[in-house]
């Protein structure tokens, strides 16, 4: 019986042995991919450039549009710093909803966003993508904030993380706060900016609480733009410009 069993196993062993090399030759076409994989792991920078290069021309093309916003560069220093931190995430996320100028401002940010993940592997191409977005960000800081607001508004409207009633309630709260700011600047409301700041913080926290579970990207974008929005609200001129829009 043991002999019979061993004889019975032999064909199976042969079949298994044949089956293993089988995939080997058959993998030869996929073998190319298998060979490419190590290449990518060894030198990602060599493969990464092709996708980066096409985006680089976009950056080169967009600056022609961006110099226009370069004039309003003088803005609050703190807000500028925060905006600089905001631009990459918000623009990379909200590429679709914005308008033509929004696309112009977002296109340059994409390479920067793509540049940040790339840096670890590639050392050569770090310098080129970094320099371009830096100049772009410096050139278009204030318009970027405005565009961020528009994009954030669109994303809040379109997010599925919160329902219709909740969105309407939030909109009511936002309208109330804006009315309070308007009354405050017109001298009709006797309150302090600190109290308005408190109301603003609570509202932002409500929004973040509602959004963070269902749309964490949007929550991060809102949290990142928190200070820049406050920069607009707390400045009478900026607020009036903003409310005119």
């Amino acid at each position: 019986m043991h002999r019979m069993a061993s004889v019975g196993f032999l064909p199976l062993v042969f079949l298994a042995a044949c089956a293993r090399p089988g995939p080997g030759p058959s993998q030869s076409p996929p073998g190319a991919a298998a060979v490419e994989a190590p290449r990518t792991s060894e030198a990602i920078a060599t493969l990464a450039p092709p996708p980066v290069k096409p985006s680089a021309p976009q950056v080169a093309s967009t600056p022609s549009v961006q110099p226009v916003p370069a004039s309003p560069a003088p803005a609050a220093g703190v807000a500028q710093a925060s905006r600089g931190a905001i631009i990459p995430p918000s623009t990379s996320k909200a590429a679709s909803p914005s308008g033509s100028s929004g696309g112009a401002a977002q296109a340059p940010a994409k390479p920067s966003g793509a540049g940040h993940p790339v840096p670890p592997p590639g050392g050569k191409e770090r310098t080129a993508p970094r320099e371009k977005p830096a100049t772009v960000e410096i050139a278009s800081q204030q318009p970027a904030a405005q565009l961020d607001l528009a994009a954030l508004e669109d994303r809040l409207r379109n997010t599925r993380a919160i329902g219709v009633f909740t969105k309407l309630s939030l909109k009511n709260n936002v309208d109330d706060l804006l009315t309070a700011f308007r009354a405050f600047y017109n001298g009709q409301l006797r309150t302090t900016l600190a109290e308005l700041r408190q109301r603003y913080d609570i509202l932002v926290m409500k929004v973040l609480t509602l959004v963070q579970n269902g749309d964490s990207d949007l929550a991060q974008a809102i949290a990142a733009s928190r200070d820049s929005i406050w920069g607009i609200l707390s400045d009478r001129e900026k607020f009036q410009k903003f409310s005119l829009h």
Binding site: G163, F165, T166, L168, S169, N173
Partner: protein
């Protein structure tokens, strides 16, 4: 063998068909709960929602609280405790 397979298929179909509607109900209940809580009213969990009309609902919470949630003429969401 055929009967168990058909039964299994039937069960799966029923589950798949009912999943989206239940998900929609859950999301609506979440919306109601968030709206109520946004207005500073307590509600641990929505157990029942009755539609009175367009943008007009009565919501019952698990803790026994009942609310009338509606949109007024000015477009504001109003939550009234019943």
């Amino acid at each position: 063998m055929r009967q168990p397979i058909t039964v299994l298929t039937l069960v799966m179909t029923t589950l798949l068909a009912s999943a989206p509607s239940q998900g929609a109900e859950d999301s609506f209940a979440q919306d109601m709960k968030a709206t109520i809580v946004l207005h500073g009213m307590p509600c641990d969990q929505i157990v029942d929602v009755k539609r009175n009309g367009d943008s007009d609902y009565n919501a019952s919470c698990k803790d026994g609280n009942r609310y009338h949630v509606f949109v007024d003429a000015q477009g504001r969401v109003v939550v009234q405790k019943l």
